[in-house]
Amino acid sequence: MNRPMKVAPVTFQVLRARLSGVVQEMQFSLFRTGFSTIIRESQDASCAFLDPTGRVVAQHVVLPLHIGAFPACTAAVLRDFGDDLCEGDAYLINHTYEGGSPHAPDFFVICPVFIDGELLGFAASMAHKGDIGGPVPGSCSASATEIYNEGLHMPAVRYQRDGETNRDIERIIAANSRTPEVVLGDTRGQLGSVRVGERRLQEIAEKHGLDELRNYFEDVLAVSEQRVRAALAEWPDMEVEAERFVDDDGIDLEHSFRLHVTVRKAGDRIEFDFTQSDDQTRGPANIRPPLLRAACAYVVISLLGPDTYVNSGLLDAMDITTRPGSVVDPHFPAAVNTYNPTVHAVVDAVFDAMSAIVPGRGRADGCASRSFVMSGGREPGTKKYVQYEIFGGGTGALKDRDGVSGSSVNHTNGKIAPVEIVESEYTARVKRLELIPDSGGAGRFRGGLGILREYEVVEPARFSLRSTRHKVAPLGVDGGHRGRIGRLTVNPGTPQERVLPSRYSDLPLKPGDTFRLETPGGGGYGNPLERDADAVVADVASGYVSEAAAREDYGVVVTRDAKGTVVLDRQATGKLRHERALDAPASDVGVPALAQEVIAE
C-alpha cells in the first residue's frame, strides 16, 4: 500500500525540518520587508516551494486557500516560459484566468531555482496588494461584472532576468495603482523573500545533493497523499450531496445562488463533483477551480487532523469535477473579486457532505466573513483615510461542544480592529461592541454568538460593505436551530433607518449618521430540548440566551434567587420540556438542507 521511501527516514525528517524552516524564513522576510499593513496585520501573504512540475512541496500556512493558487500560477509560468527558464529569473503574475490568483490584488512572485544548471523547483510568494486600480479604492468593486472592472491584470511576465528587474513592468504597475509606492514596495519585498528561499534551497542542495532533494520531494508528496488515502480507506464508501446558498451576487439582489457538491467516496478515492452548482454570476462572486480545490483541501485537512503535511500531495488524492460556465468554473472574463462568501458556502457544503462520511466530525454552519471600507477626507481640510475592518461572528456548534463566539471561521482569519485605534486614527466613534444574545442557533450544543458593533460618523465618509449571510442563515445540524442572520442597519431606530444588502458600494454618510453591523451567529447542534439545563441557566446568567429564548427554544424556565442570581426552576422546566417533546418530536431532524428551508424569514 505504501510506496517505499526513496530517502532514508532520518534524512526525510531532516529535510522536512530544514525546508519548513526555510519557508518560514521566507515568510519572516516577507513580513519584515513588506510595507503595507495588509501584509503585516492581516498577514494576507504566503510563501511556498514547488517542485519542477509546479507542485507545492512545502508551504507556511498563513491562510489555507493559497495552496491551490501556487500550482496554478506556477503552471502559467511553465506554460509561457518553460523552454526559457534561467537562473536569475523571476516571474510575476496576478491573473485569475491565465494563472490561478484568487483575485487581481493577489500578486505572485515565482523564481525558478537551479542547481548546476538543473531546475530543482520554484520559490514562490504571494501577497495581497492594497490597490491595483479599477473603479474603487482597493480594487474590489461590488458592482464589477467582468475582470476589467477589477484593476490591472498581468499574465505571467518576466520580472527579472539575471537578477535585473524589468523596470517597465514596475512602471506599468505604478501607473495603475492609487498607492504605487506601497504596491511596489511589497512586490519587491516578495522578490527579496523568494531570493532568500532560492539561496537557502541551494545551500541545502549543496549539502544533500540534487538527487536526494528530488527524491525527498517525491517522498513527501507521496506520504501526504498516502495519509489522505489511508484515512479515506477507513471511511465508508458512499455518495452524498449537500448544498449551500449565498445571499446574492451584488448585482441581482433578488436571487440567491447555489453551491452544490456531490461527494463520491470509494475505497481510497474521493471525488468532489460541483457540476450541479449554479451558473456563473454577473456580479463578482465567482471563484475558479484552483480556489475550489483549496477549499476542498481545507475541509479534508481539518478532518484528517494536524499530522497532515500541507502540500500538493493531498490534492492528488482528491478529484474535483466542475461544469464550465458555473459559479465555480466561470468563463473568462467573469468577475471574481469578492470570492469569500462563495468559498465559505463551498466549505460549509463540503463539510456538510463529509459529515455523513466521517462520523462524529459534523459541525453546524458558521458566520462566514465580511469586511467594510469607510473612506473619508475628500472634503478640503479633512484628514484622508481608508478604514478597513474585517469581522467574524459565531462559529457552528459541534457534536460535543458549543460554537465559539466572536471568532473568525473556516479559511479566513482577520483580526478585529481595536476601538481605541479606530477612534484615534479615523473619525468614526464606536458606540457598542457586544455579543448578540440569542444569535447562536439553539441546540444540544449552541452556536457561537455574532458580534454587534455600532458606529457614529463624525465627518462625511463613504461606506462599502462586502458581507454575506444577511439572507441565508447558518444551518444547524441534527435538530439544532439556525444561527441568526447578519444585518447592516444605517441610522437604526430613527425615521431614516435603512437596511443595506450584504454587498454594497459607496454609500455616502454624513456627520451624526450611525450604522450598526450585526454579524451572524453559528448554527446549533442537536435538539435544544436535550441541552443540559444547567448550561442553559449559565447562558442566561451570562446574557448569551434571553430568558424568553430559554423557555421558547430550550424549554428551560429560570428564576432568580434572593441574591438575584439566575437559577433553574427544575420543576417547571421538567414539565415544559415534557410537553414540548410531545408537541414537536425533534422538529428538524433529517430535513435536508433545501433552498426553501434556508432562506430566513
Binding site: 521511501m5 527516514p9 532520518v10 526525510f12 525528517q13 531532516v14 525540518a17 524552516g21 518560514q24 522576510s29 519584515r32 520587508t33 510595507f35 499593513t37 503585516r40 496585520e41 500556512v61 491562510l63 489555507p64 519585498g189 527579496g192 498516502q226 495519509r227 489511508a230 485537512i301 481539518s302 478532518l303 494536524p306 497532515t308 467574524g392 459541534l398 465559539v404 463566539s405 466572536g406 471568532s407 479559511h411 482569519n413 483580526k415 478585529i416 481595536p418 476601538v419 481605541e420 484615534s424 486614527e425 457598542r432 461592541l433 457586544e434 455579543l435 458580534i451 454587534l452 458593533r453 449559565a538 446568567a541 451570562s542 446574557g543 448569551y544 434567587d561 441574591k563 442570581t565 439566575v566
Partner: protein, 698 residues
C-alpha cells in the same frame, strides 16, 4: 561570621538553590524535590539546610523565581474575578482579537478560545465615556455604578478588574470606580487597567488587567506566607525579591501587586544569568539554550542585552507587559520518538513527561525518548545522575529504540538513536534560527550557552551545525536559572500611551508624560529601599510610521526629551526600523504611540569567583573511557569528571564531561578550554571552521 545570598528557583520537578558566601564569593548549590501543593515547603527545606550549617550566620539577600502565578493561570485556579467595562463594550473581552492563532488552529474543528477568567455573569458595565483625546464625553454615573456593584454582591467576587476605554489618557474614572468598589464591595481587591498597563488597545490592556486581578490574591497569599516562614527562621532581610518576566526583580509586595508581571519568572532567570555571565567572561553575543525534560527555551542576547518584547500570549491569553523575548519549543529529554502508519519517523512534539518518563528511568515508560537515544549512543552513562534520579537502564532504552524505531524502519539501533537525536537537534536549531538569522542576525557572531539538565548534551553538536562562534557551558548548568536570580537588579516598567505626530511634539509635551512615570518609578524604588543614586532610569518611545498597525520601541535620552529633539528621535526610529524590518521610510510621517520608562534599583553586583589553576593534569580528571557514537562511527571516548578539570586545561574532543547535574558532550575535533570561571569553552572543530570561511567568502 559569614553572610549568604540565597537564590531559589522553583521548577516543575526540582527546586534549585544557589548559596553565595558574601565574604569569599564561594558558590554552593543544592536541589530539593519540588512541593507543588505548597512550593514554600521545599524552599524552607533548602533554607533550613543552609542555616543548619554552623558557619551560616544569616541571609542578607533572598531572591526567588516562582511559577505560582504561572501555574494558577495554566490550571485556571485563580480567584473568583469580576470585570467592569465601559457601557456598551462587554464584547471586548470575549471577542479577544477575533482571529485564531496561525498554523494548525486554522484547521482545528475543536478550536475554542481560552475560558473567560471573569465570565460575562460577573461582568458589569459602567456608564461613562472618554474620547481619544482624553476628554470626557459621558461623566461617570456613580449611582448606576453602585447599583451594578450591588447586583454583583451575590457573586462572591474576591478580585475585580476595571478596564474603561481610553483610561490611559484619563485614569480618573477608573480611580473613582475603585473608591466606590471599596465602599460597595469592601474587601474586594481591585486591579485598574490604568495602573497595570496604561496603554492603547483595549483588549490587550483588559486581558492583562484581568489576569492580574485573577492572580494577585494568590501571589499575595503565597508570598506573605513565605515571608512569614522566612522570618520564623530568622531570614529578615529587606532584600527579598521575586524575579519578574522582564529579567528584573521586585520586592515581595510589589511583585504581588503586579502579579501578571511574574508569569515568566522561571525562564527569565536563565536568560539573565546567561547575559550576566557572558558579559563577565567577555562574550557579548550569545544565544541561551535551556533544555529540560519537556521543552527548551532559547533567547538572543546581543551586546550583553537580552532582546525584549512588549508582551505575548500565555496559554492563548494576551499579557501585554514587557518581558524577555524567549521562544519555547516542545523538545526536551522526554520528547518521544516513533514511526507512524506511513513509515515516517517522528520525533515530538509529544513528551513522556516525568511520569512515566523515558524508558531508561524504569518508571513504566516503554516508548523511546531523546534521553533514551542519548543513553544508547553513549552520550549519557548509566550512572548519569540527571539531577538525582536512580541509575539509568541502558537495556530498557535500547529495547525501546529497537522496538519503536529501529525495527519498524529496518535500521540498526545505533543508527536509529542517532537519527532521533539528529532530528530533535534540528528542531531546536530551527528555533534558534527563528530568533536569529530570520531576524537578520548572523549566527557566526554568537556563542551558544547551553544549560538546563539536557542542554549541554546537545550544545556542541548544535553549535557546529549552526556554524556558531563557539559554545559555553557554565560551571553549574543545572542551576543557572537560580544563579541568574542573584545577578538581577530590581526593575519596574512604566508605560503610558498618547498618540501624536512626532514632529508636533515639544520637549515640555513629552516631559509632561514621562516625568509622571519617572516619579512613579522613583517612588516605587524608594519604597523598596533604593537611594536616588542607586536608581537608573531609561526612556523608550514606541513609534511607528503613520498608518502602521504596530510600534517599534526606540530608546531615547533624557537630554533629547528635554530639548524636544524630535529630529534625533526620528533618525533613531528609522534606523531601528531598518534594523528590524529591513527597510525604512524616511519620507513617511512618524507617530509616537506610547512612552516607556524603566526604573532600575541597582543591587550590589555578584562577582563570580575567579579560580587559579591548582596544577592538576588532565589525566587525573579522566575517570573512565567508553564507546560513544559520533557521526557514523563508534569511538572510544574519555570521560572526565567536571569537578576534577583544572582551570586552564585544554583538550580536544571526542570527550564526555560528567557532572552532578548534567553531562557535556564534545564532538571529535572540537577544542575545549576550562576558563577562570570554570566555564567550558568549546570551539568549532577546525575542519568545519575552514568550510565556514569558505562559505563566508563565497
Amino acid at each position: 561570621m559569614p553572610q549568604y545570598r540565597v537564590a531559589v528557583d522553583t521548577g516543575g520537578t526540582f527546586t534549585d538553590f544557589v548559596f553565595l558566601r558574601e565574604d569569599t564569593g564561594e558558590l554552593s548549590i543544592a536541589k530539593r524535590l519540588s512541593t507543588p501543593h505548597d512550593p514554600s515547603v521545599a524552599i524552607m527545606e533548602g533554607v533550613d539546610s543552609l542555616l543548619a550549617t554552623p558557619e551560616a550566620e544569616g541571609v542578607t539577600y533572598f531572591c526567588h523565581g516562582t511559577t505560582v502565578g504561572t501555574n494558577a493561570l495554566l490550571e485556571e485556579k485563580g480567584v473568583r474575578t469580576g470585570l467592569l467595562v465601559s457601557e456598551g463594550f462587554r464584547g471586548i473581552y470575549e471577542v479577544m482579537e477575533q482571529s485564531r492563532p496561525h498554523g494548525p488552529a486554522l484547521f482545528d474543528l475543536n478550536y475554542r478560545k481560552p475560558a473567560l477568567l471573569a465570565p460575562q455573569s460577573r461582568t458589569g458595565e459602567v456608564r461613562e465615556r472618554v474620547d481619544y483625546r482624553g476628554s470626557v464625553l459621558v461623566p461617570l454615573d456613580e449611582e448606576a455604578l453602585r447599583t451594578t456593584l450591588r447586583g454583583l454582591e451575590g457573586e462572591d467576587i474576591e478580585s475585580i478588574a476595571v478596564c474603561l476605554l481610553f483610561s490611559y489618557l484619563h485614569p480618573a474614572h477608573e480611580q473613582r470606580v475603585r473608591e466606590i468598589i471599596a465602599e460597595e464591595l469592601p474587601g474586594c481587591v481591585v486591579s485598574l487597567s490604568s495602573d497595570v498597563l496604561p496603554q492603547i488597545r483595549e483588549y490587550a490592556r483588559l486581558s492583562t488587567t484581568v489576569i492580574n486581578a485573577y492572580l494577585q490574591p494568590i501571589l499575595e497569599r503565597y508570598l506573605g506566607n513565605l515571608r512569614t516562614r522566612l522570618i520564623d527562621v530568622g531570614v529578615t532581610t529587606a532584600q527579598a525579591y521575586v524575579m519578574q518576566s522582564n529579567g528584573g526583580t521586585a520586592t515581595f509586595d510589589k511583585a504581588a501587586q503586579k502579579a501578571a508581571a511574574t508569569l515568566l519568572s522561571g525562564p527569565a532567570g536563565g536568560v539573565t544569568a546567561g547575559a550576566r555571565l557572558s558579559r563577565m567572561c567577555g562574550v557579548n553575543n550569545i544565544i541561551t539554550f535551556d533544555m529540560g525534560g519537556t521543552s527548551c527555551d532559547v533567547a538572543l542576547i546581543e551586546g550583553g542585552a537580552p532582546r525584549l518584547t512588549n508582551g505575548g500570549l500565555i496559554a492563548g491569553r494576551q499579557v501585554a507587559l514587557p518581558g524577555l523575548d524567549i521562544d519555547t519549543v516542545s523538545a526536551g529529554g522526554g520528547t518521544l520518538a516513533g514511526v507512524d502508519a506511513q513509515g515516517v519517523l517522528k520525533v515530538g512534539p509529544d513528551s513522556a513527561g516525568s511520569v512515566p518518563g523515558p524508558a531508561c528511568y524504569g518508571r513504566g515508560g516503554t516508548r523511546p525518548t531523546v534521553t533514551d537515544a542519548n543513553l544508547v549512543l553513549g552520550y549519557l552513562s548509566a550512572r548519569s545522575r540527571l539531577g538525582g534520579s536512580l541509575a539509568l537502564d541502558t537495556d530498557a532504552a535500547a529495547r525501546a529504540v529497537r522496538e519503536h524505531v529501529a525495527d519498524p524502519l529496518g535500521m540498526d539501533v545505533l543508527d536509529a538513536a542517532k537519527g532521533v537525536v539528529d532530528i530533535v537537534n534540528i528542531q531546536m536549531e530551527e528555533a534558534i534560527k527563528g530568533i536569529s538569522t530570520m531576524r537578520g542576525y548572523d549566527l557566526r557572531d554568537f556563542v551558544l550557552v547551553g544549560f538546563g539538565g539536557a542542554g549541554p548534551v546537545h550544545t556542541a553538536a548544535m553549535m557546529e551545525d549552526l556554524h556558531m562562534a563557539g559554545a559555553l557551558i557554565p560551571a553549574h548548568p543545572g542551576v543557572l536559572s537560580a544563579l541568574g536570580l542573584m545577578m538581577a537588579d530590581v526593575q519596574h516598567d512604566y508605560v503610558r500611551s498618547r498618540l501624536d505626530a512626532l514632529d508636533e511634539l515639544s520637549g515640555p509635551d513629552m516631559l509632561s508624560i514621562v516625568d509622571g512615570l519617572v516619579a512613579a518609578a522613583r517612588a516605587d524604588l524608594s519604597e523598596e529601599g533604593f537611594a536616588d543614586d542607586a536608581v537608573e532610569i531609561d526612556y523608550t518611545l514606541d513609534m511607528r510610521y503613520r498608518g502602521q498597525g504596530y510600534e517599534v520601541p526606540v530608546k531615547v535620552s533624557r537630554g533629547a526629551l528635554e530639548q524636544g529633539d524630535t529630529a534625533t528621535m526620528r533618525k533613531a526610529f528609522d534606523a531601528e526600523h531598518l534594523d528590524r524590518f529591513g527597510h525604512a521610510a524616511p519620507e513617511e510621517s512618524v507617530e509616537v504611540v506610547s512612552y516607556r520608562v524603566t526604573g532600575r534599583g541597582l543591587v550590589p553586583e555578584v562577582k563570580l569567583l575567579e579560580h587559579e589553576p591548582v596544577g592538576r593534569p588532565l589525566a587525573e580528571a579522566q575517570v573512565d573511557t567508553r564507546p560513544v557514537r559520533f557521526g557514523d562511527s563508534v569511538v572510544d571516548t574519555p570521560i572526565y569528571a567536571r569537578e576534577l578539570l583544572d582551570v586552564g586545561v585544554t583538550f580536544t574532543g571526542p570527550a564526555i564531561v560528567d557532572q552532578e547535574d548534567t553531562t557535556v558532550v564534545v564532538l571529535p575535533g572540537q577544542p575545549v578550554e576550562v576558563d577562570r570561571w570554570r566555564n567550558l569553552r568549546i570551539s568549532p572543530a577546525p575542519t568545519s571552521s575552514e568550510s565556514r570561511s569558505q562559505e563566508a567568502t563565497r
